[in-house]
């Protein structure tokens, strides 16, 4: 064997081995098991948990004010796939930290957990109503919007009471954060769910200082319910009150942000309930500005079916159908009137989003009035027409002989 050839061959092999070692990629890799995959966050008024108090007694303290308590919901690895096997074991874990900087709180978790927060799979942020009343939304959400790890697709909710409790539940088979997110998919079954407000939809509202709604959640004994909406006032960026479920429903009717749902009305003759089920909904909003007077014309049209009746009435008879339609319209008008009174007179905040229409139809005037839009809105007259058409009545109808 030629020594020259052997030398070059050895060199070649050494070179290849070096390259092999250098090319094994994933330099800054982090194994998926080592990530604290976080799917939800809740912000409450600062109140230290018993664990934290004990930590502090033992000297685990740093300079801070206990302004906010941040709770993260982390997926427990290994158990998430075999959820019902563990019996009483929860497949998630909530960790609360108290402090005055949300980012610092997040990093505090790195002192307590083997797996620090990994936020690329965020689903929901729940804000306690007390926090929302106290802090401007712009400041409150600065961290969540700025941090590049958090997804802007994350859903924002308000919780009346302790936000942390919305991230906990009795049923151990699913993640509380996922449940909250999934409820927003039920808009085809209920008109009382607000169109999901994600961080990226929130940002323009905050930047333009306009009033808006956030879905409200309430909790009781480990269960949650979507209950109306919280009113965020544009100028202050703070929560000023709530709309109940029927108010929220009326707003959804006005803007036709409805995919399905029912509406119960009472027959004015018999006082018995009749149920109208929505199959489709359209609305047309036209603003008018004459001098200082602002008015809106809203046309709401809905098609649907007769869903349930607690009285005698023949669905095969058009006169009865027309009566049901009239009762439904009457009921809708009643609710819209109540809702309008509440937002125009009580809250004086345009949470319907009528400002969009003024901006589109009167762009130049809008530039002048956008600063005091909420006050202008409070004095605007809103005329509306509701048309309801019942197309069918299901597989049966009561026939009286």
């Amino acid at each position: 064997m030629n020594p020259q050839w052997l030398k070059s061959r050895t060199l070649w092999i050494c070179g290849m081995l070096t390259i092999l070692i250098l090319l094994t990629g994933c330099w800054s890799r982090r194994e998926i098991e080592d990530l604290g995959i976080t799917i939800g966050a809740a912000v409450d008024i600062g109140k230290e948990t018993p664990v934290e108090q004990e930590f502090e007694e033992q000297g685990g303290d740093y300079s801070k004010q206990n302004a906010l308590t941040l709770t993260y919901q982390m997926v427990q690895p290994g158990q998430s796939s075999t959820s019902d096997k563990g019996g009483g074991e929860k497949n998630y874990r909530n960790i609360s930290v108290t402090g005055d900087s949300l980012y610092e709180d997040t990093r505090e978790i790195a002192l307590m957990q083997a797996r620090p927060i990994f936020g690329q799979h965020y689903k929901v942020i729940v804000i306690s109503d007390k926090v929302a009343r106290k802090f401007n939304m712009r400041l409150l959400f600065d961290f969540f919007i700025r941090e590049q790890e958090f997804r802007p697709s994350c859903l924002v909710l308000i919780c009346k009471g302790e936000a942390r409790s919305a991230l906990d539940q009795k049923d151990k088979s699913e993640f509380p954060s996922m449940r909250l997110l999934s409820i927003t998919n039920n808009r085809y079954r209920s008109t009382r769910i607000l169109k999901p407000m994600s961080l990226s939809k929130l940002l323009p509202e905050i930047n333009s200082s306009s009033s808006f709604l956030l879905q409200n959640v309430i909790t009781a004994e480990g269960e949650v319910k979507f209950a109306g909406a919280a009113v965020i006032y544009g100028k202050t960026g703070k929560l000023i009150g709530f709309l109940n479920e029927e108010d929220l429903e009326s707003i959804n009717w006005m803007t036709a942000k409805v995919k399905g749902g029912v509406l119960k009305s009472y027959d004015s003759h018999t006082g018995q309930p009749i149920l109208y089920e929505i199959t489709s909904m359209k609305s047309k909003i036209r603003p008018h500005i004459e001098g200082n007077r602002i008015s809106f014309d809203v046309e709401i049209e809905s098609d649907g079916r007769l869903g349930e009746q607690w009285e005698n009435g023949n669905g095969f008879d058009n006169r009865f159908i027309r009566r049901v339609e009239e009762e439904t319209v009457k009921q809708v008008r009643k609710r819209i009137d109540k809702m309008l009174h509440r937002i125009q007179k009580e809250y004086r905040a345009d949470v319907i989003g009528l400002d969009q229409y003024v901006r589109i139809y009167y762009p130049r005037t809008w530039e002048k009035i956008k600063k005091d839009w909420d006050d202008k809105f409070a004095n605007a007259s809103i005329r509306y027409r509701v048309k309801v058409k019942i197309k069918e009545f299901g597989t049966t109808s009561i026939k009286v002989h």
Partner: protein, 363 residues
């Protein structure tokens, strides 16, 4: 240096070079920088007008280059305005290309640090990027063009995919009203948007290498038209989903747009990685072509082989890339290069063309 047969490029390749060069940082930042100026949802109109201006400037450059067949700007500048002024002009253009390459590198490193490689130091990313780049550019213009031809269709496919997906959160009301405040705000934004089309100046150099220089007009028009389509689509999608108020406060609005929707049930989440992939490829194309152009300028001016200059430029580009202290500095730096581009590639070619006509300079 003689232009070999291999180095000549077809019309189709010229289109791809211009389009790939123009597409760069703009996809990620243009919606914001335009929205800051325009302040109404009409930024897509500004982009169209900006694109038309770029096309006009591109045509003038082509006209100028066609007067000197087989010669690049570096060769004929001295013929038009004399040895000394020509030399200074060449130096400025070389400086422009170096700065452009540096800005690309740095922008790449910034986005990577923020979204992909959190802990990798910037120098590591930049140096790796440069070495891959040098591997390509020593192969000459033909190697570069072939690489561009591979990258281009991938970019188009992924971009269309992402654009279609973002329809999920698109709301047409965010784009209304059209021209609500008149044409004035639109014109306000034209300066910014026209600058985002800088890249057509490559025609100063590549017309000389074209097999059929007569088709250069067509090449530059289509070459600008494709990025125009990309930019308008991006602007419509970003404003339609995030509104004009939202966009102005986002550093990288297009990435935020892609992160704003989810499709549960499809194999993956985090589609922004797809966008970052094509964006990185576009940054790479812009980087290599500017690196090559700068080296070519030096080689042509000194009538030497291009290779040593390619290597000499690497540390220079690296140092310039590391100069901006923070991201605001980087944006300012890139703005001032844009202004330089306007003077050098919109005003100057007109002046040069005028002088060439007056003095009757011929090859």
């Amino acid at each position: 240096m003689r232009m070999s047969e291999q180095e000549s490029i077809t019309t189709h390749q010229a289109v791809v070079i211009v389009a790939n060069y123009i597409l760069g940082v703009g996809i990620l930042t243009l919606p914001r920088s335009a929205a800051e100026q325009v302040k109404t949802p009409d930024i897509w109109l500004s982009i169209i007008i900006g694109g038309l201006i770029a096309m006009l400037a591109g045509l003038i450059i082509v006209k100028l280059s066609q007067k000197f067949p087989g010669m690049t700007f570096y060769d004929y500048s001295q013929q038009i305005v004399g040895k000394w002024i020509g030399c200074i002009l060449n130096l400025i253009v070389i400086g422009y290309f170096i700065s452009m390459a540096s800005v690309m590198l740095r922008a790449m490193a910034e986005v990577n640090t923020l979204f992909l490689l959190e802990e990798t130091p910037r120098w590591a990313m930049i140096i790796a990027f440069m070495w891959v780049g040098i591997y390509l550019v020593v192969g000459g213009l033909s190697a570069i063009t072939r690489m561009f031809e591979i990258i281009f269709p991938i970019t188009v496919i992924i971009f269309v995919l992402i654009a279609v997906m973002s329809l999920k959160i698109f709301d047409i009301n965010n784009l209304r009203p059209v021209l609500g405040l008149g044409i004035a705000p639109v014109l306000n934004g034209v300066k910014t948007t026209a600058l985002s089309f800088s890249g057509f100046e490559i025609m100063l150099l590549i017309v000389a290498s074209m097999q059929n220089p007569k088709t250069a007009q067509k090449a530059v028009l289509i070459g600008i038209g494709i990025p125009l389509l990309f930019y308008v689509t991006t602007a419509l999608m970003v404003i339609g989903a995030l509104t004009i108020e939202g966009v102005t406060s986002l550093t990288w609005p297009t990435i935020t747009l892609i992160k704003s929707f989810e499709f549960p049930g499809i194999l993956f989440e985090r589609y922004e990685s797809l966008l970052l992939v094509i964006w990185m490829m576009q940054i790479f194309t812009t980087f290599v072509i500017t690196h090559y152009s700068a080296a070519m300028g030096m080689a042509r001016s000194m009538r030497k082989d291009i290779r040593p200059f390619l290597y000499v430029l690497m540390p220079v580009i690296y140092i310039v890339a590391m100069l901006p202290k923070n991201i605001n500095d980087l944006f300012h730096f890139s703005d001032s290069i844009g202004k330089l581009a306007f003077v050098m590639f919109v005003i100057l070619p007109i002046v040069l063309l005028g002088i060439a006509k007056l003095r009757g300079v011929q090859t």
